[in-house]
């Protein structure tokens, strides 16, 4: 049960990152290959808040969230996506790869290549559930991630702004004719992506430790999760993330630890061969 829970907890964090891939795809028709670094960076904003400004953890987390929204949301859109997008999706993909390298190397330069400790939001404790001893941190991580996904889905489906964002994703030209402020909706999408990345960062870094290279694996797994689940559906990213998290843990615990890193890739190949649109994806249209 603990293996399953740990898999779900890690998988839910993968899902948050994978949703970011989906959102950026919907908003800018591109794949953000710096998404892993978008998760790595907020933890260092928090560390800067604690060590340079002497802030308490809660204030540093708030600072990290705001800094992430500004740098990874607003500035990313204004300085990279907007100027490069007219030159084509491929150009933007390459630009995001370059951005990923820049973020990684900058953190390495500023904080050194060594890992840094990162305080956990939850005290280390365990809970007895049906005779199984479960980690409280895993339970809280899972609960926070799932709550955020549910709230995001409700926001997109039940609010006027959410529906405008969906209209913008499906057909920006028609949405504009219907009076939707397309530019603002796209900006909201980038801000949500940055906030999700920051949240994933705050949840996963206490376990992974803060390190410049954290985004490499996270970005790749979340990208695969998004494809496995269905790149054009938020619920697909959720399913993909949870599936990879659980399968990874079950494989490492009961099958082979040596080849666990290959599992997401095997899953990716199987999905591409059997259901190219992903488990929950649709082969037509785009929605957020």
């Amino acid at each position: 049960m603990q293996v399953l829970l740990s898999g779900l907890a890690t998988g839910s964090i993968y899902a948050l990152v994978a949703i970011g891939f989906t959102l950026v795809w919907q908003a800018a028709q591109t794949v953000n290959f710096a998404q892993g670094e978008f998760v790595m960076l907020p933890a260092f904003f928090v560390l800067a808040g604690v060590s340079f400004f002497g802030l308490p953890l809660w204030a540093a987390l708030l600072l990290g969230l705001v800094a992430s929204i500004v740098v990874l949301g607003i500035l990313f859109k204004k300085l990279i996506v907007e100027p490069i997008l007219p030159h084509g999706g491929i150009t933007l993909i390459i630009a995001t790869m370059a951005l990923g390298i820049l973020l990684k190397e900058s953190v390495k330069e500023f904080y050194s290549a060594e890992a840094q400790p990162f305080a956990s939001l939850v005290q280390s404790a365990h809970v007895d559930v049906l005779g199984a001893v479960l980690s409280l941190q895993d339970l809280v991580n899972l609960a926070i991630s799932l709550t955020i996904v549910v709230l995001l889905t409700l926001f997109l489906n039940r609010t006027r702004t959410g529906r405008c964002m969906q209209a913008t994703a499906q057909n920006p030209a028609v949405a504009e004719i219907l009076g939707v402020n397309v530019k603002r909706m796209i900006l909201y999408t980038f801000i949500i992506n940055a906030a999700l990345a920051a949240l994933a960062s705050f949840l996963i870094t206490p376990i992974y430790l803060a390190k410049f290279s954290n985004g490499e694996t996270l970005g790749l797994i979340a990208f695969i999760a998004a494809i496995v689940g269905g790149f054009n559906q938020i619920r697909g990213a959720l399913v993909g993330g949870l599936l990879i998290g659980v399968l990874d843990n079950l494989t490492a615990a009961y099958v082979t630890a040596e080849y666990r890193a290959a599992l997401p890739l095997v899953l990716l190949i199987a999905i591409i061969l059997l259901r190219p649109q992903g488990i929950m994806g649709t082969s037509e249209g785009r929605t957020v």
Binding site: Q2, V3, S6, G7, A9, T10, K108, S112, A113, E114, A115, Q116, P117, S124, H126, V133, S135, Q137, D138, P206, I207, Y208, L209, K211, S213, N214, T217, D248, N249, L250, T251, A252, A253, A257, E258, R260, A261
Partner: protein, 378 residues
């Protein structure tokens, strides 16, 4: 005419100055993991060497020549390390100091051997000294010496009947794991779980769950620093209750810093530890290191320090800068603290470059490693 004369004079002066400088210094090539997964080990190794070089130069250098230390960052990549050892030798290095990661050392030590350049390494994989390379020398005991020192602890102190081993799947980890399993077999202790993990692995949930399910009396943890910290964090998260015992890295300052409270109670056998401040040389080194770098030294810092000082002592015993004579002298050599105080502990090297010296058992208590016992040289 005047300009030409001035130019000739300047060139001649510069060449003379360059030649004089070359004669007054001896080059040491420090090749280490300054970035990548091995950075915690490599940076400590480097800083220990820096302190030694400063002290040696303050005492007049080696055979009246000041040390010129050049740093090379392997990025924890074995192939890069091989190229950098060659680069250091091409640059005139008399001795190579590094690398730490066994996977790198196994690749780059052939380069030093082919060039007859002595090499002090921080690596602990058993096979490093089993290759018949006469130019490689350890700065700490290999796993085949260090891990057996733990056997009495498992058998007599913990009274373990069944144990588990969690190890990192690289040259370092494989070496330690193999020796441990053999030792336990000889001691009549059953190994009921054998859990490998990958270098730079971040998620240890499945590994710890597997260990919990096996429920051994104790777990032997043999991983590099960051991996050890992540393992301890996950162990605490999942309330892994049995004693966690390691060799060297598990109780290092960097691991404790990263793991925080999760490191509490961890036990390890360490070849040398900065917390053994009762040993005068180690106490003085630790104090100087903390004053200089504003952090506590790890055993890698002491290994680098000892490597640099051994270079001086042995060169002066040989009486000249000759790599082959140096290596010959090293085999079967014992350096006593009474005569060579900066060696820190009485130390011997055998005919394969393996070293032996007294060692320590430590346990993390209140956020710091505390010496709980000593182990005689084996």
């Amino acid at each position: 005419m005047y300009r030409a004369l001035l130019l000739s004079l300047s060139t001649a002066l510069l060449m003379t100055a360059g030649a004089a400088s070359a004669q007054e210094t001896v080059k040491l090539g420090m090749v280490a993991e300054l970035s990548g997964a091995g950075a915690p080990a490599g940076t400590n190794w480097r800083d220990g060497i820096k302190i030694a070089v400063e002290e040696i130069n303050a005492e007049g250098g080696i055979l009246q020549k000041k040390i010129e230390l050049t740093e090379y960052d392997t990025q924890t990549d074995p192939q890069v390390s091989r190229a950098l050892v060659q680069k250091a030798i091409d640059g005139g290095a008399y001795v190579i100091l590094g690398t730490i990661y066994s996977g790198s050392t196994l690749v780059n030590m052939l380069v030093a051997q082919q060039n007859s350049v002595p090499q002090f390494v921080g690596s602990e994989a058993p096979n490093i000294v089993e290759k018949g390379n006469p130019f490689v020398f350890r700065t700490s005991s290999g796993a085949q010496k260090g891990v057996p020192a733990l056997t009495p602890y498992f058998k007599d102190t913990l009274k373990a009947k069944k144990v588990a081993v969690a190890w990192v799947n690289n040259e370092f980890g494989k070496g330690g794991r193999n020796v441990f399993i053999e030792e336990m077999k000889n001691a009549g202790i059953e190994v009921i779980a054998d859990v490998p993990s990958e270098q730079a692995q971040t998620d240890y949930a499945a590994d710890v769950a597997k260990l919990k399910q096996a429920n051994p009396d104790a777990v032997f943890v043999y991983m590099n620093q960051e991996e050890s910290a992540r393992f301890l964090i996950e162990g605490k998260k999942q309330s892994l209750a049995m004693p966690l015992v390691g060799e060297v890295t598990l109780t290092e300052a960097k691991v404790i810093e990263l793991a925080g409270g999760a490191a509490e109670g961890a036990i390890a056998h360490v070849g040398v530890t900065a917390t053994a401040t009762d040993v005068p040389g180690i106490g003085a080194f630790s104090k100087k290191f903390e004053e200089t770098f504003k952090r506590k030294p790890t055993h890698d810092a002491i290994k680098g320090y000892v490597g640099a000082w051994t270079t001086k002592y042995v060169t002066e015993l040989v009486g000249e800068f000759d790599g082959e004579a140096f290596s010959e002298k090293m085999h079967g050599l014992c350096l006593k603290v009474a005569d060579h105080p900066k060696i820190l502990l009485d130390t011997c090297w055998d005919d394969r470059g393996e070293m032996s010296r007294p060692s320590f058992m430590v346990q993390v208590k209140n956020g710091a490693p505390v010496v709980i016992g000593t182990v005689p040289a084996n």
